[in-house]
């Protein structure tokens, strides 16, 4: 009976306040202040990106006291789940983080966001060309890209290379011969963590497709004049297979959660790391000053019978904010202030300091971190090809990612992976 009384006490003390809170309504806006809701992709527990983003918000709010932004964050797969549910139920926030290409095309193609071109007009030249490519069927710009993402950088630990008596390889064959030497020293040749299945596609496959097939073929494949089961494409798949079979990747790469790849590199257990340019953001904080002197950014070496550009990388204009089509004129103006602040000159300068590669053209910063300078220099000199998941629809690419895993486990052949991609792409329409 004593417990019963206890339970009743607990009930009264917790239920009543909770119902009161539940019944409470949202506070109304103060006079003259425009309130806007923002949905952003952010891991709030990340030691680097979360405080960095907060700093940007603080700067903006100090400069614009008449605009109040309320943020809502999503992260990983759940970011997209949530975005989809909000869009379907007509609850899209005022400002939303969107992706170029296919990742958020459910939202953009449904006419739920405004075309930003009228707001942008006159400033187009201030951005990298890649960022100003049309995002909609009629040339619309749905989101203002914040960054250029290079997705296939070979981060190189030159100290380890020198210790092993090696140099950065000039050819793919030379890279393969380094494998046994590196492994013998107890190190990982190329660190990459592919449990989540997208890294092998995003950081390796797209780059190899351009190398093996060339940009001309790529454009034909996208328009349907070339097919993904062409021998060139199969050849790109065979290279991944060979890298895997010759144990060039992290052992158990398909069991490693993304981030563990960087961990192995930062702790100098790996000679190379195949990852995107966004990783520089973490490296700024995680590498020691000394490490930063001998870590370099390189392109994957050229492959035999290469049809594409020498030392090319895969790259895409990154995500950025777009605004809800339902906003009235005054709200839209306020929303644009945030979008322009974030992806325009002011925000870009701040983000560049943090190790991002803004889509907005900026002068090279003088006091930037050495890794950031290396990234900017690298981006300036390499030719660029497509990132697969920004040009191919979500379902074919999701299947392709997993098929690459199958290929590494010998449950599929490179030819079958290529054929399956062609079949999927033609069934959903190019």
């Amino acid at each position: 009976m004593k417990m019963k009384r206890l339970l009743i006490l607990a009930f009264v003390s917790f239920l009543i306040p909770s119902l009161l809170i539940a019944a409470g309504t949202k506070e109304s806006a103060a006079d003259g202040v425009i309130e806007l809701s923002v949905y952003h992709y952010l891991d709030q527990t990340d030691k680097t990106t979360a405080p960095n983003f907060q700093h940007l918000v603080d700067v903006f709010e100090a400069a614009n006291p008449d605009i109040k932004l309320s943020f809502e964050y999503g992260y990983g797969e759940s970011f997209h789940d949530k975005l989809q549910t909000m869009a379907m139920s007509g609850q899209l926030p005022d400002i939303v983080l969107l992706y170029p290409g296919e990742r958020t095309s459910q939202v953009t193609s449904a006419g739920l966001v405004k075309d930003l071109r009228p707001y942008l007009s006159g400033h187009e030249d201030e951005f990298a060309d890649m960022a100003m490519q049309a995002q909609g069927e009629n040339g619309e710009i749905w989101e203002l890209p914040e960054d250029i993402s290079i997705t296939s950088i070979m981060y190189t630990n030159n100290r380890l290379l020198a210790e092993l008596g090696l140099e950065y390889p000039k050819s793919y064959e030379e890279l393969l011969t380094q494998g046994p030497v590196i492994r013998k020293a107890g190190l990982i040749p190329i660190s990459i963590a592919n449990k989540d299945a997208w890294p092998m596609q995003s950081c390796v496959a797209g780059m190899l497709v351009e190398r093996a097939c060339g940009m001309e073929w790529w454009d034909k494949a996208l328009s349907g004049e070339a097919s993904y089961d062409d021998p060139e494409f199969v050849y790109a798949m065979e290279i991944i297979k060979e890298l895997n079979d010759k144990q060039m990747f992290s052992p158990g790469t398909n069991q490693l959660a993304y981030g563990q790849g960087l961990d192995d590199f930062v702790n100098e257990r790996a000679v190379y790391l195949l990852d995107g340019g966004w990783t520089v953001n973490s490296m700024v904080g995680e590498l020691t000053d000394e490490q930063k002197t001998y870590m370099s950014l390189e392109s994957f070496p050229d492959i035999p019978n290469q049809k594409g550009q020498s030392l090319s990388v895969s790259a895409t204009a990154g995500q950025g904010f777009g605004m809800n089509a339902k906003l009235n004129e005054k709200e839209a103006e306020a929303a644009w202030k945030w979008i322009w602040f974030y992806s325009g000159p002011e925000g870009s300068a701040i983000r560049q300091q943090y190790g991002r590669l803004p889509a907005y053209n900026l002068d090279e910063p003088e006091d930037a971190d050495p890794m950031i300078k290396k990234l900017i220099a690298f981006a300036g000199k390499v030719p660029m090809g497509y990132v697969m998941d920004s040009v191919i629809a979500a379902e074919p690419i999701g299947t392709f990612n997993i098929n690459l895993q199958n290929m590494m486990f010998d449950t599929m052949s490179p030819m079958e992976v290529a054929q399956d991609l062609e079949r999927m792409v033609s069934s959903v329409g190019r």
Binding site: I21, A22, Y39, T45, M88, L262
Partner: protein
Amino acid sequence: MKRSVTIGKILAYVLMITFTLLTVVPLVWMILSAFKPHALIVRQPLAPPFTFYIENFILSWTQGHLGIYFLNSIVYSLSATFVTVGLAMSSGYALSKFQYRSGRIIYGFYTLGLLITVHSVIVPLFIMETKLGISNTRLGVILPYIAFGLPFQVFLATTYVKGIPDSMQESAIIDGATFLEVFVKIIIPVATPILSTMFIYTFLGNWNEFILVLTLTSDMMIRSLPVGINSFAGGMSRDYGLQFAALVIGTVPMIIFYMIFKDKIAQGFAAGSTKE
């Protein structure tokens, strides 16, 4: 004869100790790791913490906003649990002692509810809640908690009340009591053991629930602990020290709760799982 008893005993101990170790070792390792900085966990996963690195807890508590999540978890778990248990008990009484034909149909619906996954209703549910204006509110979380708790709790309540002799109800009715009075004055007191089991079982389920809060809420102020903990597990958040600290914060209160109520849990299960 005697030898077989000894072998049996040894086997019994081996089995018991294996299961116990499987539980204790990971938990102890988790708690110890929570006191180690990330670098030490990675380099020496088995070493004991040389110093008690409390920063993990402070950082994960503040950066992960675990304080708010913790409070929300308590609010959701308690309020949804009380309503669920109340509704399930009254339904259990009505479905077991009234002998209406509709009772069989209703009971059948609840049984079917046991088979429904949260995922198969989450999209329609979100759309509905948005139309009603209760999405992203505490009420919008508590209502689905109640609904998903009901099938199993109605099952427990119905089987238990069925076991209460009809004579108790009949004599009270002859003395002029109404059915509602019977429910409050006779059924509820007699059913106390199953009530506490239902309470504990529902509470645990609600406390650990993940996917509903994740999709039905977006406002950080009204999210709950499992969602908060999971944000430490994302592929890109790589500080294992923080992750372990968050796991400890999410687990230890439940272990304490369990230690307090474990006898009640055991008693109630006997009552709840008898064949009708």
